[in-house]
């Protein structure tokens, strides 16, 4: 995830991820629109092909921020901090997508856009923590202190990711439990829907990887400009 060799241009792997993501995006959209409707929700269930990848990449991005924040604290190399902050930024975008699509999905199925149930509450807290991450970065002028403080938030904030994921099992909630359950390995989904969902998960993961690498590259450019 680190750009070091040719800092004046994004490296080949960044373009590969972005290219694959953009190329496969129409296929993901096609499979999502070709997948059968749900027996109870009808075509509404299709918002899942955006909602689930959004939430998954929010979680993944914050996990990457967690790992690179730890790496920064141990090695004190600003490159790790750049990846941590790039990933948090892209993670906020995807988490925001999950929240917005979730609200649009909730209104016609549950009957409300928002309710303070465990999954929604923990996810809202998660989102707010990473907004705070960037406010904190903006508030501290000393670069080294800024990186250290951000790393602390990047590490502590991640604690909420497993809580948010497990909230539907730990507490009574309105949100349904996982359809692809990573804790039991059970899948409660029609094969055609599963195929569309998995492909969209892969496509959006490529896009995430490309975005993070690109954002990391931009951050490196910014830093060099500041130093110069």
């Amino acid at each position: 995830m680190l750009n070091a060799a040719h800092p004046e241009r994004p490296d080949a792997l960044t373009w590969v991820f972005l290219g694959l993501g953009l190329l496969l995006l129409p296929l993901g959209l096609y499979l999502a629109l070709a997948a059968p409707p749900d027996v109870n929700q009808g075509y509404l269930a299709r918002i899942m092909y955006l909602h689930v990848p959004g939430a998954w990449l929010g979680y993944l991005a914050f996990a990457v921020t967690f790992v690179y924040s730890l790496l920064y604290l141990f090695r004190q190399d600003p490159r790790y901090d750049r990846v941590a902050s790039a990933s948090a930024e892209i993670g906020l975008v995807f988490m925001g997508l999950a929240l917005v699509t979730g609200m649009l999905w909730a209104r016609p199925t549950w009957g409300v856009y928002w309710t303070w149930e465990p999954r929604l509450t923990t996810t809202a807290i998660l989102f707010a923590v990473y907004v705070g991450y960037f406010l904190l970065r903006g508030a501290i002028e000393d670069p080294e202190l800024r990186r250290k403080a951000a790393a602390a938030v990047g590490i502590l904030g991640f604690l909420n990711v497993p809580i948010s994921y497990m909230s539907v099992k730990w507490w009574r909630s309105l949100h349904q439990t996982q359809s692809i359950d990573l804790t039991t390995g059970k899948i409660h989904m029609d094969p055609a829907m599963l195929q569309a969902l998995l492909l969209n998960l892969v496509v959006f993961t490529f896009l995430y990887l490309g975005f993070v690498r690109f954002r990391g590259f931009l951050a490196a450019l910014e830093e060099r400009k500041e130093e110069a």
Partner: protein, 142 residues
């Protein structure tokens, strides 16, 4: 520290505090089951609560003219009669899991908000739900 970011941080911390102590604290138990409610009725009297359970089959009555929806909420052990003012949500049906927000008044639970739970299982319908059929349904509803 730059003041504008400090202000933003305070807003975020305030929001987090509100969600953790105000929102989450109350919502660790998002809804009560009818049995839990009936066991500790005095505690919840005249207080807004959420009740969760299943719509008992055969008890749904909807008055189209007065927009009054009546049904019985059950958790298999205890039952609570519900009166909800408003149209039933699209996915509301008998046997469905629902959460009702409201309060008790004279033996009937007066719902102000009716939320429908749905399962995590997604299945293709055996027949129907083609675009043509959906269009026909929409036309009929007009």
């Amino acid at each position: 520290m730059k003041p504008k970011y400090l202000l933003g941080l305070l807003v975020i911390l305030g929001a987090l505090g509100y969600m953790v102590f105000g929102g989450l604290g109350r919502n660790l138990v998002y809804f009560l089951t009818p049995s839990e409610y009936l066991q500790d009725q005095a505690r919840y009297q005249n207080r807004p609560v959420r009740l969760g359970g299943l719509v008992k089959p055969g008890t749904v009555q909807y008055d189209k003219d007065r927009l009054e929806l009546r049904f019985v909420l059950t958790d298999g052990v205890a039952e609570v009669p519900i009166l909800h003012k408003g149209t039933p949500p699209g996915m509301f049906k008998e046997g469905q899991g629902v959460v009702v927000e409201g309060r008790f008044q004279g033996g009937v639970f007066q719902g102000t908000n009716l939320l429908v739970k749905h399962s995590e299982t997604y299945q293709a319908p055996k027949a129907g739900w083609t675009p043509e059929e959906v269009r026909k349904l929409i036309e009929e509803a007009k």
